[in-house]
Symmetry: C2
Subunit: 232 residues, 2 copies
Amino acid sequence: MSANGSANPSTPSLTVHHLEDSRSIRIIWLLEELEVPYQIKKYQRVEDRMSPEALKKINPKAGSPVITDGDLTLPESGAIVEYIRSKYDTTGKIAPPESGKIDDLYYLHYVEGSLMPLLVDKLIFQMLPEKAPFFVRPILRAASGTVNGKLLDPRLKIHARLIEEHLAKSGDFFAGGDHPTAADFMIIFALEIWGHRHPELLGDKAKAYVKKIHSRPAFKRAVEKAGGHMYA
Amino acid sequence: MSANGSANPSTPSLTVHHLEDSRSIRIIWLLEELEVPYQIKKYQRVEDRMSPEALKKINPKAGSPVITDGDLTLPESGAIVEYIRSKYDTTGKIAPPESGKIDDLYYLHYVEGSLMPLLVDKLIFQMLPEKAPFFVRPILRAASGTVNGKLLDPRLKIHARLIEEHLAKSGDFFAGGDHPTAADFMIIFALEIWGHRHPELLGDKAKAYVKKIHSRPAFKRAVEKAGGHMYA
């Protein structure tokens, strides 16, 4: 199941527990870039796009991704990226350039600490009106920062502007340089769902960035091994 | 403004931009444990507990904490903790024991990646009913996982149980050992607001943990220098 299949002919101990169309695509992409041996265990979403019981047996918090590696079970994207980088990237293949170390560190934490909660909240608030009785919908729309389907919330706009400004300086990757780093493995899923749900709020540079990442051979292999990815 | 005031007699370049009663108490506590020179710039919340314009000039995303250090401006708790640890903890004073490295890494990311969004969403959903017209309240209460003020959401209960199980093994600190590490600097604020808003959902070991942290001289100095802390 590894990218090159050569490092370990037996079953690799490193396993990505992959919930379809979830954050775990990050980890599969990361491992494809590193070309280290791993296996994927796939999980289908159940009603209301929730995690199935089988995944909760691995991670009681029901989140995705979670990896197992020998005796270790580790959830949380950021922790997994740092763990894999530290243990498996022995040649510095995904290390940030010296000039991009702080950007790499910042975006590693920013994505799940600030951006994803903003995007997920927006999603929750926008789903409520569809399920609520008609007479509540205007109130819920107001609460979600939308009026007549138009988004008013300025927070995503500020984040969009700052991402555009950053990419104008950093170039192809969030930490600069010529290869993806932790920052990229974290942010891709956030920009994918953002572009999918609110393309009108995502800047041109961010959209071009997502396209470039999707065109990488390692990302294409990741999607294939994941059995598809609704945002790619 | 440093804890011992001796390392640098001139104004230290490291500045914590502290929004009252916010996540930035983490960073002040961290710096008090490390006893490195720093200064605090304080910001008062404005209407609806929002960040003031002055803080947005430092961090356009309006989040707290944010630090400045020479030319560097760095938001995001997790990134700040990693940056300060790497640059200022030259003697490994807050380094996790070898056996606790994975726990330290996990909780460093878990707090902002999973726990805080859960607590903040709970807060938002619970605030909505108070502001919404009476006929919408039952619907919003259902959406927030509460019925007649009683919380139904099982997610926080699962997190509470796992934290109790972890503290039963790890002891005084989240990464084990005899001193706080990144995991503790991150989780204290989450457990404080949890205990403040939903004490019935927080376990006894977590409550005892918060009390123990609050009794540390460095935490007491942090609260004093912050000009108070509503959760301590």
